[in-house]
């Protein structure tokens, strides 16, 4: 176990903020060599004098400048003298020109800075020294420039009229401490892209305001960029106010969505007393480059939530009370129970499910335990229910089960085709990057049934919103490709050189049934609109596809992924920056858990279990013979459980009873098992059916790696010691050992070493290298020693790109008179997945319950108004929730989130799944909605009608 009393690897130890060079870097072919205070420094031409000085080791005083924002030039603290130039220019807004000679410390500029600071202080609280809590740049700057006097007496100030705003649950706004430098306003616009802040009034009366209201009722999305940007204590984390300054920094990785943001966990105390003061996004983070969202930045409090379980527990029956036991007893009960089941019901009667929220190392040992200690391949991961079609589809077409680009690539895209994803809610930090690109002039086409924020909003206007009806994605993407091909917009040279099955595919896609006109009725998209979108995509210099679960969670999810790959290939939009096919992964380590061999049919690195040469690698190392046949997938496990052939399950960090479709079915399966072992932070829904509960660790306690949606392997480092006393990978290893298969590791780094030694795409990865280099995108091989940001350059991983004939086969889930509406599901910004973490934080403030969004026309005929409790029912179940009448939805489609167990949206979702991977069809459920208290009447009528309806289930 990592000892926390020493700084983690690569850490300097004590607390220091990240260095700030004042202005952003400049990309320029030419260099400029300048002399600053006698020191020569060479920088890209156009770099600010301030940044050049910082590079040369000279700190020019500044307040309004910070290197995440464009130079603004308002504070006038950074004035310098330039030989041969008039006056005293601001160093932040003055670009370096070759041969420039700059003095930053003349008597004149020192006097000016002192006098400007004196002006600041004349309109600042008198107790400035006391209030700053150690994080105030202004206080530090006042000392630096030697401003002590305030000769202006008791003049006008803005302090008395300032009202403290504590409405946001995570940070306070104290206008009295504000110096109106606009860093917050600029951060909200330039970095986050929300524009929720502004300056109100003018001149001396200028005030920063979230639009004339308080923060909580404003457009603020609480990403924290403004707080991070504030140089005073005007905007400050409540946690910092409460706890004081951190003493130490631990670089780690967020455990929410698949963006995988790098954070500096700022902590104080040691050992058991360690506390996280705040989470600050790291500028050095490849995925986020200093930005964050409300979840990663603030919603880490679940780590210390009272619901958190810290002791192993067992019980003989799920009707019994839990009994706290020692680790040894709990592990023994699990191991003995599994062994007994195997004795009585066969080797294949047990299995394990690993979590996409755990580290690569934790996931790796789960599949190792199943394959080697259990002796079968009954291992699956929660990626099954979200992005398994991505793995399948991209592997079939490109040869790699992963996205093609890094996030930064979007900065080169001219047209973005966004399909079935809602990044501003589900992948906010990527959304900010995307919005910045849109503000630079790139265009976006949104294909989504719902009018998401990227369709229309501040400084965002989609070139087209195509509200593709749920279930019709394949018809849609085929019509796009049809348009491209029949209008001659395809890239013939790329196809001939880089792809196979070209002629048969072109003939297939050109068939009239794939035309926009022919598919119009199915997709709901007017043909001419679709054609315009296809032209926009095809004719862009760089066009990129980004997609989410709105693609994968369909009965044709895999076909759709291949359809998008086809579209990218026929337009040559693959193999360079700014293009590609890019999944936005739901969970932090979906990519990693798939990479780690969590699927029943493949070993780490996506190598099929049937390949003897691959099995041999592991058999030699582990000393066990591996089963060459695929094992059970999650839904197969449930079916087998109900059939009595599958009786024991180890579930790591995943609440299958809530997150998997058709809850009743899942619960029945769990109930039928002899032994369910749940390893989690909380007693989740699944734990209701468990016999052994093994407390897990939060990401703040983990040592390992996560792999994000761009294949970036990021280090996760423990900011706190494991609160329940054991690393999670160790728990798994203990069970394996108790079953007779020791898996001894001295630390997580040894697990990664084993991964690297056995998996070619990870060959160059080690903790030591990650600590030294920050992060790496796999494959990391001899050919690409620093990783691979862009894949399929020059050649596809599988050689030629495979054009697959993606025939549109509609789902069997159809609307009818009894269930006339289609339900689709999604996420909201403040909550995450089933809410296990975010519901245990102040994020509840924004989204305390799941809401059903319904189109005004659909609401009208049902007598539903916003705020009504409504009954949502499908063929498999029903639930009650509150309605919101919303024009975001197209008529005929309703929408909700699945963050709250009390709502249990998955009570209504069906068992339909992707034909290739069994990824559940969460996005298409035929439903009816009615005002809750009027249900009794309609039920009888519905039952009568139902007898005339075909069952319609397969």
């Amino acid at each position: 176990m990592t000892t926390l009393d020493q700084p983690a690897l690569g850490e300097p130890g004590g607390y220091a903020p990240e260095p700030d060079l004042g202005t952003p870097p400049v990309a320029s072919q030419a260099d400029a060599t300048v002399t600053i205070d006698g020191r020569q420094v060479t920088v890209p031409a156009g770099t600010s004098v301030m940044r050049a000085a910082a590079v040369a080791g000279i700190d020019v005083p500044k307040l309004c400048a910070t290197d995440s924002l464009k130079a603004f030039g308002s504070c006038r603290m950074c004035l310098v003298e330039v030989d041969g130039a008039r006056g005293t220019p601001a160093s932040c807004t003055t670009p370096c020109a070759d041969g420039m000679v700059v003095s930053t410390q003349t008597e004149q500029v020192q006097r000016l800075r002192r006098n400007v600071m004196e002006l600041y202080l004349s309109d600042h609280p008198a107790d400035c020294q006391g209030c700053a809590r150690g994080s105030c740049e202004m206080q530090a700057m006042a000392v630096t420039v030697g401003a002590v006097e305030a000769r202006y007496g008791n003049g006008r100030d803005h302090l008395a009229e300032s009202s403290y705003d504590a409405s946001n649950p995570y940070f306070d706004y104290d206008p009295a401490a504000c110096i109106v430098c606009s860093r917050c306003v600029r951060a909200c616009g330039e970095v986050q892209g929300t524009f929720a802040l502004t300056v109100e009034g003018r001149g001396f009366d200028s005030r920063i305001t979230p639009g004339g209201t308080d923060f909580l009722s404003s457009e603020c999305v609480s990403c924290g960029a403004c707080v991070q940007a504030c140089p005073t204590s005007a905007l400050q984390e409540k946690s910092l106010i409460e706890l004081g300054m951190p003493t130490r920094v631990v670089d780690t990785t967020c455990a929410y969505c698949g963006v995988g943001c790098s954070f500096r966990a700022e902590v104080q105390g040691t050992g058991e007393d360690t506390q996280v003061v705040r989470m600050m996004p790291a500028k050095t983070g490849g995925a986020n480059e200093g930005h964050s969202c409300v979840k990663g930045r603030f919603a880490y409090g679940y780590t210390n939530h009272p619901d958190r379980q810290l002791h192993p527990m067992v019980r003989d029956s799920i009707d019994d009370e839990w009994r706290v036991v020692s680790w040894e007893e709990a592990v023994a009960k699990a191991a003995d129970g599994f062994s007994a089941i195997q004795r009585d019901h066969g080797v294949g009667a047990i299995g394990g499910i690993s979590s996409s929220r755990c580290t690569n190392e934790e996931v790796y040992v789960v599949q190792k335990m199943v394959r080697a200690a259990f002796g079968n391949n009954n291992v699956d991961t929660c990626a099954r229910v979200c992005h398994s079609p991505t793995g399948y589809g991209l592997n079939q077409t490109f040869g790699t089960s992963a996205g093609t680009q890094d996030f930064k690539s979007v900065e080169q895209a001219d047209v973005v085709l966004l399909i079935g994803a809602n990044p501003t809610d589900a992948h906010p930090v990527f959304a900010s990057r995307l919005k910045r690109r849109l503000r630079q002039g790139a265009q976006i086409v949104v294909a989504d049934p719902r009018r998401i924020d990227l369709v229309h909003g501040p400084h965002v206007e989609a070139a087209a919103h195509l509200p593709v009806l749920p279930g019709s994605n394949v018809a849609f993407v085929n019509a796009m490709a049809h348009t491209v091909v029949t209008e001659g917009l395809h890239d013939e040279a790329f196809l001939r050189e880089r792809c196979e099955n070209v002629d048969s595919y072109l003939a297939f896609i050109a068939r009239p049934e794939n035309s926009p006109e022919a598919t119009e009725e199915v997709t709901g998209i007017p043909a001419e609109q679709l054609r315009a979108a296809a032209r926009l995509y095809a004719e862009a210099p760089n066009a990129a596809i980004y997609y989410g679960l709105g693609v994968t969670e369909h009965s044709q999810g895999s076909t759709m992924v291949m359809g998008m790959a086809n579209l990218a290939m026929i337009t040559g939009n693959i193999g360079r920056e700014g293009v590609g096919v890019n999944p936005l992964r739901g969970q932090n380590n979906v990519q990693g858990s798939c990479d780690m061999g969590s699927f029943p049919h493949e070993l780490p690195g996506y190598r099929h279990i049937s390949r003897p040469e691959v099995r041999a690698i592991y058999e030699d190392l582990w000393g066990r013979t591996l089963d060459p046949e695929p094992g059970l997938r999650i839904p197969n496990m449930f079916d087998s459980a109900l059939a009595g052939t599958f009786r024991g399950l180890y579930v790591q960090g995943e609440d299958i009873a809530q997150s998997d479709p058709n809850t009743q079915h899942v619960e029945a399966a769990l109930r039928s098992m002899d032994l369910v072992v749940v390893q989690d932070l909380f007693l989740n829904e699944t734990a209701r059916f468990a016999h052994v509960f093994l407390p897990g660790t939060s990401f703040l306690e983990k040592d390992g790696t996560f792999t994000n949606a761009e294949r970036r392997i990021n280090r996760v480092r423990p900011a706190l010691p494991p609160r329940q006393g054991k690393d999670e990978w160790q728990i798994t290893c203990d069970i394996a050992a108790a079953m007779g298969f020791p898996m001894p590791y001295a630390g997580a780094h040894e697990i990664m070493d084993e991964i690297a030694a056995t998996t070619p795409t990870f060959a160059g990865v080690s903790f030591a290298r990650l600590d030294a280099e920050g992060s790496m995108q796999w494959p990391v091989t001899d050919a690409a020693p620093h990783g691979t940001p862009t894949m399929h350059v020059g050649e596809f991983v599988r050689g030629k790109g495979n054009l697959v004939e993606t025939v549109y086969v509609p789902t069997t889930e159809r609307t009818n008179r009894r269930f006339p509406l289609v339900l689709t599901t999604g996420r909201i910004l403040s909550q995450y997945n089933v809410g296990a973490q975010t519901r245990r934080t102040a994020n509840q403030t924004w989204h305390p319950e799941d809401i059903l969004e319904i189109h005004p026309a659909d609401a009208h005929v049902r007598g539903i108004s916003t705020g009504d409790l409504v009954e949502l029912s499908s063929r498999v179940g029903s639930t009650t929730l509150r309605a919101e009448v919303s024009e975001r939805m197209p008529a005929g489609v309703v929408y909700t989130t699945f963050h709250h167990p009390v709502t249990g949206a998955n009570v209504v979702t069906t068992e339909n799944s992707d034909w290739a991977t069994n990824c559940p069809e969460y996005k298409v459920t035929a439903v009816e909605v009615g005002v809750a208290n009027a249900r009794g009447l309609t039920d009888a009528e519905a039952a009568a009608r139902d007898e005339r309806e075909p069952a319609g289930r397969s």
């Binding site: 300056v199 639009g211 004339g212 457009e219 609480s222 229309h456 501040p458 400084h459």
Partner: protein, 160 residues
């Protein structure tokens, strides 16, 4: 985090007004930098920009409500409350000060404060471009030169 659902800030700010404001904004939205023309037209129509107009304008123009609020609050011309019955604006800039503008302004303010001018707002302005014929001012929008207190009293006589 959710779009704030503003309640109308005044009785006039009902649904009709909202639709009209939306129409005004849509009329200008294809211009470059349409916000000031929109605000001018809303001012011409209603005399002031209501807090409830702000999110409507923002939505049409692809701006945040905060941005519109910031702009509204920057410009002196953009009233955010219903206008008074009468407005007297007197120039206080140097050229008019050179011919007695300060005492004229003070007198007018005093008269307004006394209630003698009814529902009248006396505003200071800085330059109406009539600097050779100061003191200058406007009375309900009409430009006047060589103003004095007597003339002002005459012009505003009978105001309630």
């Amino acid at each position: 985090m959710s779009t704030p659902t503003s309640t109308p800030a005044s009785p006039e700010a009902g649904p009709d007004r909202s639709a009209l404001v939306r129409a005004v904004a849509e009329h200008h939205r294809d211009q470059r930098g349409p916000l000031l023309p929109v605000l001018h037209e809303v001012l011409a129509e209603f005399g002031y920009v209501d807090a409830a107009d702000v999110p409507v304008i923002a939505d049409v123009l692809n701006l945040s409500a905060a941005e519109v609020h910031g702009v509204v609050s920057f410009y002196h011309d953009v009233r955010t409350t219903p206008p008074p019955t009468h407005v007297v604006a007197l120039c206080r800039a140097e050229a008019c000060q050179a011919v007695g503008a300060e005492s004229l302004y003070a007198a007018a303010q005093e008269r307004a404060a006394s209630g003698e001018m009814g529902d009248t707002e006396v505003q200071q302005v800085f330059c109406l471009g009539n600097c050779a014929l100061g003191p200058s001012g406007t009375v309900d929008g009409r430009l006047l030169g060589r103003l004095d207190a007597a003339r002002l009293t005459e012009l505003t006589a009978g105001w309630r």
